[in-house]
C-alpha cells in the first residue's frame, strides 16, 4: 500500500516540499511585505532618522527632501520616522485585537461545537447578534462605551472579530469531533477535555490560521479607522490612522502628510491579504489533491 494516497482526506496535509503554495509570486510578495514591515517594526529606533515626537517648527510642512525623505507635518515632525513608528501601533493592534478575537472566538466556538446543547445555543445566538452589526458601527459603539484610546479601540476590534472565529471553529469542530481518531481516543479512555483540546482543537486549526492572517489586514484598517475618527490612538502618538487624520486638513497644500501613512496601510494590508490567500490555497483540500 502506498503512502501517497494516505494524504487524501487528512485534515492537515504536509506536502513533501513544505509550503508549496507559498512559492507563487503573489505569495512571495505577500510574505515579503509582511516580513518587511515586521522588520521595520523591530528595528524602528535604529532606522528612524528622527524622534517621531520631536517638533521642529522651522521645517513645518516641508515637502519631501534629502533632510526629511517623506516630508514633515504641520509641527515639523519627520513623517518617515512617524510612519516607521506607526508600524508598532499597527502590529500591536494586530497582536492584541486579532489575538483577543482568536483566543476568545476559538474558546467559544470550541465549547459550542464540542458540547452542543444549551451552551451552543447561548454562544451561537450571541455570535449571531454580534454579526448582525456592521463592523465599524459595532466597534464605535464599544469604544463609545469604554472611552476612546488605543487600548480600548483594540479591545473593541477584538470583540468585533470574535464571532467570526467562533463560527468558523464551531463548524470545524462539528466535523472533526466525528472523526474516527476522536472516537478512538474516547474508546481508549480520553476524557472530554482531553479529546477537545488535544484531538479536536489541533485538527480544527488550519482554517483558523488562514483567517487570522486575513483578519490581520482588516484589523490594521479598522484600527486606523478608529484612530482616524479620533477614537483610537490619541495625539501625539504616531498611529497611521491618526496621521491620516492630521494630513486630511492639509491635503491640498501638503499631500505627503496623508499620502505616506495611507500608502503604509495599503501595503501592509496587501501583504497580509496575499499571505492569507496563499495559506488558504495551501490548506485547501481541493487543490493539488
Amino acid at each position: 500500500m502506498s503512502t501517497g494516497t494516505a494524504l487524501v482526506g487528512a485534515p492537515l496535509r504536509r506536502p513533501a516540499g513544505g509550503l508549496r503554495a507559498l512559492r507563487r509570486t503573489s505569495a512571495k510578495v505577500g510574505l515579503a511585505l509582511t516580513l518587511l514591515f515586521l522588520l521595520i517594526m523591530l528595528v524602528a529606533p535604529l532606522v528612524a532618522p528622527y524622534d517621531p515626537y520631536d517638533q521642529d517648527l522651522s521645517s513645518a510642512l516641508s515637502p519631501p527632501s534629502a533632510v526629511h525623505w517623506l516630508g514633515a507635518d504641520q509641527y515639523g515632525r519627520d513623517m518617515l520616522s512617524r510612519v516607521i513608528y506607526g508600524t508598532r501601533t499597527a502590529f500591536l493592534a494586530v497582536l492584541v485585537a486579532d489575538g483577543l478575537a482568536l483566543v476568545v472566538g476559538c474558546a467559544m466556538g470550541l465549547v459550542a461545537g464540542f458540547f452542543g446543547g444549551w451552551a451552543e445555543a447561548v454562544i451561537m445566538r450571541l455570535v449571531d447578534m454580534l454579526l448582525a452589526f456592521p463592523y465599524l458601527l459595532l466597534a464605535l459603539i464599544i469604544v463609545a462605551a469604554l472611552g476612546p484610546g488605543l487600548t480600548n479601540s483594540m479591545i473593541a476590534i477584538g470583540i468585533v472579530y470574535t464571532p467570526q472565529y467562533a463560527r468558523l471553529i464551531r463548524g470545524q469542530v462539528l466535523a472533526v469531533r466525528q472523526a474516527d481518531y476522536v472516537r478512538a481516543a474516547r474508546a481508549l479512555g480520553a476524557s472530554r477535555l482531553r479529546q477537545m483540546l488535544r484531538h479536536v482543537l489541533p485538527n480544527s486549526f488550519p482554517p483558523i490560521l488562514v483567517m487570522a492572517t486575513l483578519q490581520a489586514g482588516s484589523v490594521v484598517v479598522e484600527t486606523a479607522g478608529l484612530s482616524f475618527l479620533g477614537l483610537g490612538a490619541q495625539p501625539p502618538s504616531p498611529d497611521w490612522g491618526a496621521l491620516l487624520a492630521d494630513g486630511q486638513s492639509y491635503f491640498l497644500t501638503a499631500w505627503w502628510i496623508a499620502t505616506f501613512p495611507g500608502l503604509a496601510i495599503f501595503l501592509l494590508v496587501l501583504g497580509f491579504n496575499l499571505l492569507g490567500d496563499a495559506l488558504r490555497d495551501h490548506f485547501d483540500p481541493r487543490r493539488g489533491a
Binding site: M1, S2, T3, A6, L7, G9, A10, P11, L12, R14, A179, D180, Y181, V182, R183, A184, A185, R186, A187, L188, G189, A190, S191, R194, R198, H199, P202, N203
Partner: protein, 335 residues
C-alpha cells in the same frame, strides 16, 4: 472452561427517531470468556456495531440510550460491573485500560497531527503512572511485538508516513498498550488488502493468547469469521438470529439467513458455469419499519405465510450452545 469475562443479557439499545424511539438492538444476549473470540456477523444496519458501542459505553446519548438489559463485565479488581449502569467516569477508566477497541479505518483512527509514538504514549499514560521515557520505551516494545520493522524509528513517524498494514498495527499497539482483558475489533481488516488482512488476523490471535484476552470481532465477512472465531453470533435487524460454535454455524446451519450469508461467499474451485454467486434478495429492513412476524421473512426463500408472517419466532435452543430464531428450523433441511 475458562472464566467468563463479559456477559450481555437481553441488551436493548434504542435511538430517538422522528416517529418515537427505534430499537437498534432488541434483546441480544451473549457471553465472552477469557481467551475466547466471539464474532458478531451481520449486514450493515443489523445492530452489530451498536452492540459493541454499548459494551464500550460509547452509544451517543442523546439520541441513543441503553433501554434495558445487563452488560456484566468481570473487572480486574474482581468485581462484576454492569456497564449498562456505570457512570461515565467509571467507564472512562475502564476504556483503554481493561476494554479496548480497534476500528475499521486505520488511517482515520489515528490522529494525523501526532506521531504514532505520541499516541501510544498518550494512551499508556492515561491509565498507568508512567514517565515519558518509560512510556516511550513501552511504545517501542509494543510496536516491536506487533512486528513493525525498525520500531525505534517508526515510533516517530506520522500516520501518513506508514502503510495501511503498519497503521493498523500502530492502532492495535495503541489499543493493547495497557493489556486490556477485552478487545473489541470493529471490522479491523476490512480496509486492508488480503495478505495484510491475514497477517493482522494472525497477530490478533497471537496477542489474544499472550494476554488471554476475550475478543469481540465484528465483521460482515464470514470468511474472516471462520478464520478467527470460537463462536459466531449472527445478527439481523437488531436481534440474534443464530449463535453457535464456529463449526456448527458452518456445518449445521439452522437459519436460512445464515445459510444465505454462507452461500454468498465465493470459494476456490467454484464452478464458473454454475451461474452468478447466490445472493440474498432485498436489503435489511429499516428499523423503524420492521415487517410483522419474522424480520427476515420478506427475503427468505423458505417463507410460509402465517407461520413466518404472524408472530416473531422465539430464540430456540437447537442443542447446547446453539440457538436459532426461525419458526421452521425443525422442518428445514439446510445442510
Amino acid at each position: 472452561m475458562s472464566q467468563p469475562l463479559l456477559e450481555v443479557r437481553d441488551l436493548r439499545v434504542e435511538f430517538a427517531g422522528d416517529a418515537g424511539p427505534v430499537e437498534a438492538v432488541s434483546g441480544v444476549s451473549f457471553e465472552v470468556r477469557r481467551g475466547e473470540t466471539l464474532v458478531i456477523v451481520g449486514e450493515s444496519g443489523s445492530g452489530k456495531s451498536v452492540t459493541s458501542l454499548a459494551v464500550m459505553g460509547l452509544i451517543p446519548t442523546p439520541p441513543g440510550r441503553i433501554a434495558g438489559g445487563e452488560i456484566l463485565f468481570h473487572a480486574r479488581d474482581g468485581k462484576v460491573r454492569d456497564l449498562a449502569k456505570e457512570g461515565p467516569r467509571a467507564l472512562q477508566r475502564l476504556r483503554g485500560a481493561e476494554i479496548a477497541m480497534i476500528f475499521q479505518e486505520p488511517m482515520s483512527a489515528l490522529n494525523p497531527v501526532y506521531t504514532v509514538g505520541e499516541q501510544i504514549v498518550e494512551t499508556l499514560r492515561l491509565h498507568e503512572p508512567l514517565g515519558r521515557r518509560a512510556a516511550r520505551a513501552r511504545a517501542i516494545d509494543m510496536l516491536e511485538a506487533l512486528g513493525v520493522p525498525d520500531p525505534g524509528r517508526r515510533v516517530d513517524a506520522y500516520p501518513h508516513e506508514l502503510s495501511g498494514g503498519l497503521r493498523q498495527r500502530a492502532m492495535i499497539a495503541m489499543a493493547l498498550s495497557c493489556r486490556p482483558s477485552l478487545l473489541i475489533a470493529d471490522e479491523p481488516t476490512t480496509a486492508l488488502d488480503v495478505t495484510v488482512q491475514a497477517q493482522i488476523l494472525a497477530l490478533i490471535r497471537k496477542l489474544q493468547g499472550e494476554l488471554s484476552m476475550g475478543v469481540i470481532f465484528i465483521t460482515h465477512n464470514l470468511g474472516v469469521a471462520a478464520e478467527i472465531a470460537d463462536r459466531i453470533l449472527v445478527m439481523y435487524a437488531g436481534q440474534t438470529v443464530e449463535a453457535a460454535a464456529t463449526r456448527d454455524i458452518f456445518e449445521r446451519t439452522r437459519m436460512p439467513y445464515t445459510k444465505g450469508l454462507l452461500g454468498s461467499i465465493p470459494r476456490l474451485g467454484m464452478d464458473r458455469d454454475a451461474g452468478p454467486l447466490p445472493i440474498i434478495p432485498g436489503s435489511v429492513p429499516r428499523l423503524g419499519n420492521l415487517p410483522r412476524g419474522c424480520a427476515f421473512h420478506p427475503r427468505c426463500a423458505h417463507m410460509r405465510p402465517q407461520v413466518c408472517t404472524d408472530r416473531r419466532p422465539d430464540l430456540d435452543k437447537v442443542e447446547a450452545g446453539h440457538v436459532v430464531r426461525c419458526a421452521r428450523w425443525r422442518e428445514l433441511e439446510l445442510t
